[in-house]
Symmetry: C2
């Protein structure tokens, strides 16, 4: 395989109303749609499972187990896979806690409330370490992304009761256009 | 632009664990992630707005206003845009009615409950006609996709009260692998 010499340009394909990333050589259109991030607030004995990221963006910062949904899985399966990959954790999903739109980076984040189905966990390949934090010990200033703040706050507000309607973006950032880096 | 001569192959990129669609010439990786479909059950005077599709797949069959979410919008904005494009309808979203995973075709469908914010509607470019149907007049045998059946049934079950937790795939198809064609 040669080094990258791709020749993609932005142009409006025939019959469409907006620019698409198109290969000027072969006409291939790489449709760019928002990506789904599936994640979970995973509790155990009242504490919350967080992973310290081993990869960019935001290497060294803490996040919940979450990542891009793949083809051939449901949103719940994606959330369980991410917990397995990032925290070697086997989780049981309780329900949908929140759905956030992060328009600036083209993400929809579907966040579940979950608990450890079996007590073990460990750092997966994309994590430097994985720990359970009591609420008062959460490293707020070292969280990786704004939506990690959002979802932890929403998890706390929801308590242990029925989840009801999923929470959305907080009023201060209704479209997910905040300046701080988001990622998965 | 020349005719399509793209040279995409499926191979496992370095550092990854699954095959990706990769251009054999330039190395460009076209990540294929699930796409988000945003749609709404739009009510007016107790009747439901349906659109008869002017495009494939399932041309001539009835569906709710729904379609692929684009970049730079929230899920709610996408649902409102689709209602505008397909039914020339200005809708007010009441809440999230359902989230379906259609694993077989890589879709997550986020369905809202909505009503007409202003009384007018008309067939948009992708619709042959748009009509309000009383529940007993819904053309069940002419609905375009299984998830249109699901969401209408879920809308009916929800009634007019608080929506609570979003509904998911029905028990008979928990992963969205049904044989019938799905689409947006």
């Amino acid at each position: 395989m040669s080094a990258a010499t791709s020749n993609f340009v932005r142009r409006i394909p025939e019959g469409e109303d907006r620019e698409r990333l198109t290969c000027a050589d072969c006409g291939f259109i790489a449709y760019e749609n928002p990506k789904i991030v599936a994640g979970s607030v995973v509790a155990h004995d009242g504490r919350v499972l967080l992973c310290r990221r081993a990869i960019e963006p935001r290497r060294g910062f803490w996040t919940i187990p979450a990542g891009y949904m793949e083809l051939d899985e449901t949103v719940e399966e994606a959330a369980r896979r991410e917990a397995r990959e990032e925290a070697c954790a086997d989780i049981a999903i309780e329900g949908m806690l929140a759905v956030y739109s992060i328009a600036r980076i083209g993400q929809v984040q579907v966040m579940f409330r979950a608990h450890l189905a079996t007590p073990g966990f460990a750092a997966g390949e994309e994590s430097l370490e994985v720990r359970l934090f009591a609420w008062e010990d959460i490293p707020w200033s070292e969280l990786a992304f704004p939506s990690v703040h959002w979802v932890l706050r929403h998890w706390r507000e929801a308590g242990a009761g029925p989840l009801g309607a999923p929470r959305g973006n907080p009023p201060e950032d209704p479209r997910g256009t905040g300046r701080l880096l988001q990622g998965a």
